[in-house]
Symmetry: C2
Subunit: 484 residues, 2 copies
């Protein structure tokens, strides 16, 4: 059944063309039928779950630049080959390694007025304390904005620990993350400039449990922090807030050994389902292989790795491949600054294949169900995206807008002009687990994961099969400035 | 209004008597009205929340025998005095101190086949590893029963780490705890007897998060373990189970510094609402002041401390005290073996006031709503308990049986013949937090806590006001053997 549909679909489509912007584009029955059949197969398959189970069990945490990330690359090469991908390879790149120290634990405590341990973790890129640790009074800021507008002339932060308390708002789209993340990315600059000896922030994220949320800081002008910067769990932040509200000065102690360890090797792992008619044209999908060190990176981003590998594998199992090549990229070193994504785009710039990327999309927002299909393509191609959306609707997916990005690792490609699609996941509880020890396999619902694979298989197949140029034509605008 | 009801109630009750077992006992309108009014006041009050907030913030974790537990006693004395309790005092007792080491963190990891850190914690009473830590292969037991029936003659456990995987069943009554706890209490004996170098158990408890569950082990014949014994979180246990099922041998490393630190001082804190007519007769209620060191002991047992203190305080605020004395005992060193409870019973044996305890009950099962009222009293007093239950029903409380205990710290008193009542709480999610870092204030629902105080105020008032002897009469049996 599947075989017949595909063969017919190919013939039927050979002469398809894209109509003007406001026209309705109709998929041939054959393409629509194959896409639907791929989805039905995906919904019955547990391949993605098996992949993420394998990655998170047999590799576990895989911080960028560590031997664990190197093991993840070996795992990626082996798994892609086992699944029948072609041109499987690693593209290495150099990386400055940052680690937490010898263990995942760091000692943070309230010293006075009420001595007690605090669950905390260094933020990525943070400096360490002196070897014996440090003790200082905190200066409590309700919000990052209060820190920004704090009187510059004052020496009130000299020798102090800056504490920033912004709370993150949970949402289906994750849109509260950027705002809450400002303190994580830039709090240290404000603090260090004013003589503070360290920074403590309420964890970004929405977990109510006693987990601290790590994540990379920002480094404006490539400046690196010399001071320690830690996040404390929400219950600990509540505790600090309560004590602060009582009016008592709070002294805290930190003892961390975080720091930069020199240049190491990271890499992207690549595998392909070569195209039948236009193998040089590339639909690029993927996830990132590295994870933070605290959890096993099941949601971030083992799921994305598994979803895109499984979707491409199901397409590869069709009796004949789609017209274009499907390239799965398992990006390295995403968490520490999209280093693999930048290396991938630079390598394509160098080998002259950047323009061969017809459309891109990354899965990097957990494992919940896809609920919206966004795009960022030339206006002439919107009727095609709308037609894809009509096919995706049976999975409970809405048509979104044409303003979105394709995921973090797609940003360098998007800036280079590659069109993007986004299969938006429900992120309502993503930040309950993200970047914490609690990002583990048991948080994945197998049915929702399978719905993801179904949606990705449909989209990827259609994008690789339809002879459509998704790029803006000369008279069309783009939304690429929205990407970051 | 409150004042009038109470005054009338006292007069009305002076002549009340208990009728035969199968007769219906009617509370006077005055007693019933005062009880109801106390409940209405309690439902509007946030006193218990303020108390548990104060304890968990200003003291925080308070492991038995540590300076933190001593601070908790100071807090208890101050708070009881502030609330108007009389005869506030500390009764000290000696305690053997066990601690985890210098920090709350312990290094546990899978070494092979897939190296990764594991979230784990020592069980109370465990020994330590050699200073450099230890590495050994695990022998995987699906259940404690499998370990018990493991071939004795074999030396298969010599030099190995014993791993026990029993899962706990969640229930409203918490009845899955005892079964799952066997591995925690006695696993080490079986392992050490067979030459194992350590024990690792799947955490007792029902948390799906990455928290290990601590708790005291059992020490048959006062023997103490020389080997390390740790619990791993449920996601880590799942990981170990998956690797085990793949057939690969698993080597794990432990580095712990747990151990016994010598004799120290602990103590019980006592405060009273002296009785109006029979001050020598004592209704004893309370909770335990110590907690495990990983969380701040909000549910276990800051809530119990707060509920019983608040209930007694509300009764103390009545225009006149009930007939009997209400004694609130904040027990020390419960978690480490009911040491405070035993000391309290022994002291009463010594001062000859054991028989003055007319009924007892402890709150030590979290902060969720009371849903059932159990008793363990002489049969002649059952109509009185049934009458109390009819008053409690408006709070959504069922009448339970006459077989129960009065809570862990009541066990020594119950063995000594003191009648018991139990205000059973909904424990469906208690073991999601219990004995983990996640037992913190934010887990308490203020409305459910207030319902608890309402029920405790009603019960405690009625028990102290009604001139009933709850003890079995000569021809009646008891259920005291059920207590442990």
């Amino acid at each position: 059944m599947l075989r017949t549909l595909v063969a017919a679909g190919v013939i039927g489509l050979a002469g398809a063309t894209v109509h003007a912007q406001d026209e309705r584009y109709e998929l041939s029955d054959d393409v629509a039928g194959t896409a639907r059949q791929l989805a039905e197969t995906a919904l019955e398959s547990d391949l993605a779950y098996e992949i993420v189970e394998s990655l998170t069990t047999e590799v576990g945490p895989r911080l960028a630049g560590t031997p664990q990330e190197a093991r993840a690359r070996e795992w990626g090469v082996e798994t892609l080959r086992e699944l029948g991908f072609e041109n499987v390879r690693v593209e290495e790149f150099a990386l400055d390694l940052w680690t937490r120290g010898e263990t995942i634990y760091e000692d943070v405590a309230i010293v006075s007025p009420y001595p007690q341990p605090v669950y905390a973790t260094s933020l990525g890129g943070a400096g360490s304390t002196p070897e014996a640790g440090l003790e200082a009074e905190i200066v409590f800021f309700d919000s990052y904005d209060d820190l920004l507008t704090f009187d510059d002339a004052s020496d009130a932060l000299e020798g102090k620990l800056v504490y920033v308390n912004d709370r993150m708002v949970a949402s289906r789209t994750g849109e509260g993350y950027g705002w809450a993340n400002r303190k994580r990315r830039s709090g240290w600059v404000e603090a260090e400039n004013r003589g503070a000896v360290g920074v403590i922030v309420r964890s970004v994220g929405t977990s109510s449990h006693r987990f601290a949320h790590t994540g990379m800081m920002g480094f404006p002008d490539e400046r690196m922090p010399e001071i320690p910067v830690v996040a404390v769990s929400a219950p600990d932040a509540d505790q600090i807030e309560r004590i602060h509200e009582s009016g008592e000065p709070i002294v805290m102690s930190l003892n961390t050994n975080a720091g930069w360890r020199g240049e190491v090797v990271s890499g992207n792992v690549i595998g392909e389902i070569p195209g039948r008619e236009a193998p040089e044209e590339i639909v690029v999908i993927g996830g990132h292989l590295d994870s933070w060190d605290l959890g096993t990176g099941a949601l971030d981003d083992g799921a994305g790795v598994a979803i895109t590998m499984a979707a491409a594998k199901l397409i590869g199992d069709l009796d004949q491949h789609p017209r274009r090549t499907i390239r799965v990229v398992l990006f390295g070193a995403e968490e520490v600054g999209l280093v693999g994504a930048r290396a991938y785009a630079a390598a394509r710039e160098e080998d002259g294949t950047l323009d061969n990327h017809v459309i891109g999309s990354e899965s990097d927002f957990g494992a919940r169900e896809i609920w919206r299909f966004d795009s960022n393509v030339g206006e002439h191609a919107l009727p095609v995206m709308d037609a894809m959306a009509r096919e995706l609707a049976f999975l409970g997916i809405l048509r979104g807008d044409n303003e979105g990005g394709g995921g973090p690792d797609m940003i360098p490609l998007q800036y280079a002009g590659v069109p993007m699609a986004r299969l938006a996941q429900n992120g309502e509880d993503y930040f309950n687990y993200h970047h914490t020890p609690d990002d583990t396999l048991d948080k994945i619902d197998e049915d929702e994961l399978a719905q993801n694979v179904a949606a990705w298989a449909m989209f990827t197949y259609m994008a690789a099969e339809l002879p459509v140029d998704f790029r803006p034509q000369d008279d069309e605008g783009t939304s690429e400035d929205e990407a970051n």
